[in-house]
Point group: C2
Chain length 163, copies 2
DNA sequence: CACTATTAAGTTGTGCACAACTCAATCGCG
DNA sequence: CGCGATTGAGTTGTGCACAACTTAATAGTG
């Protein structure tokens, strides 16, 4: 089997070009298709991800949403404000812990779920993949992300110097 | 085999949640690792992608870069200005066609390639994947992106209404 | 109890993605 | 040739991602 060590630096840079680009392109292609499909719902793709989490849990603190989507408050705060302005969610300080803000679906936000049900099936159909393939791809991506998340930053700092 | 039609809407929304999130998370995990590795080069991940293209072609019009990375001038113009300010590239109007701007590597930008050679190998090692797996994943992502890019927007517009 | 450390959310600043637009250069057709 | 259509860059505005920071509330320790 061809291992990493047998590939020269030059080819590696080309390979890197390709995998970087592929992941980047696939994400943006997904984004583009979702953008179109979600237009009628008045949601962006990240807003849709937040709504998916809320449809599953009904009510969550900002922190809980952030943990599930790996987004920090710097991203979520303005996004949630926009969802609130659109009437999809309510935000209120938790009585038990005044630091925490609970995000809850409004009737409007709950109703939006019905409209959203048709979206993923169309998208999946557009990919031309079977359920098993989708699940497989998902598992590979999750494994990849887990590996990358576990990387010690100190192991990469010296990349640039080739040390 | 389980086909798309046998999965109820409810499960589909959950499945969607997962594949959306997985792709999103994998991209951001990749971004995070690259951000760290590229810090010493003074490049962001998208800037690195542009440099990869330039290292391969030496000199390209803005349009050529955009075609290869599927980015428009709205994204590239400011990004290229920053690369120019950093001294990595030069931009000049093409003499043959005054509309076109040619982007060319400076000596500094060319030299940066040597430093960059070590980066992808480290990243690949961090993923824990063999070359064959990387290539396979890349092919799947490319196929997925191609499928999604080919989707007719009109086929998605009616998603929301379930028509 | 007082005081420090930690935690949750929000703010600010930078950079990317993309839609919609402007402007100038070029093309192409009558 | 003249003139409308197209093309290539660039600008503007919105939204997301993330680092660094602020603020207020809570937890933990002596």
């Amino acid at each position: 089997m061809e291992t990493l060590d047998t590939v020269p630096d030059e080819d590696f840079l080309r390979l890197d070009h390709q995998i970087c680009f592929s992941l980047h392109a696939a994400t943006r292609a997904f984004n583009g298709v979702y953008r179109e499909a979600l237009k009628e719902l008045g949601l962006t793709y990240p807003q849709y991800l937040v709504m998916l989490v809320l449809w599953e849990h009904g009510e969550l603190p900002v922190k809980g949403i952030g943990e599930r989507l790996r987004l920090d408050s710097g991203t979520l705060s303005p996004l949630l404000k926009r969802l609130e302005a659109a009437g999809h969610v309510e935000r209120r300080r938790s009585p038990e812990d005044e630091r925490s803000v609970t995000v809850r679906l409004t009737a409007d936000g709950t109703a939006l779920r019905e409209k959203a049900l048709a979206v993923p099936r169309r998208i999946a159909a557009a990919t031309g993949l079977e359920v098993a393939e989708i699940v497989d791809l998902r598992e590979r991506l999750d494994a990849l992300a887990a590996r990358l998340d576990a990387v010690d930053p100190d192991d990469l700092g010296s990349c640039a110097t080739g040390a």
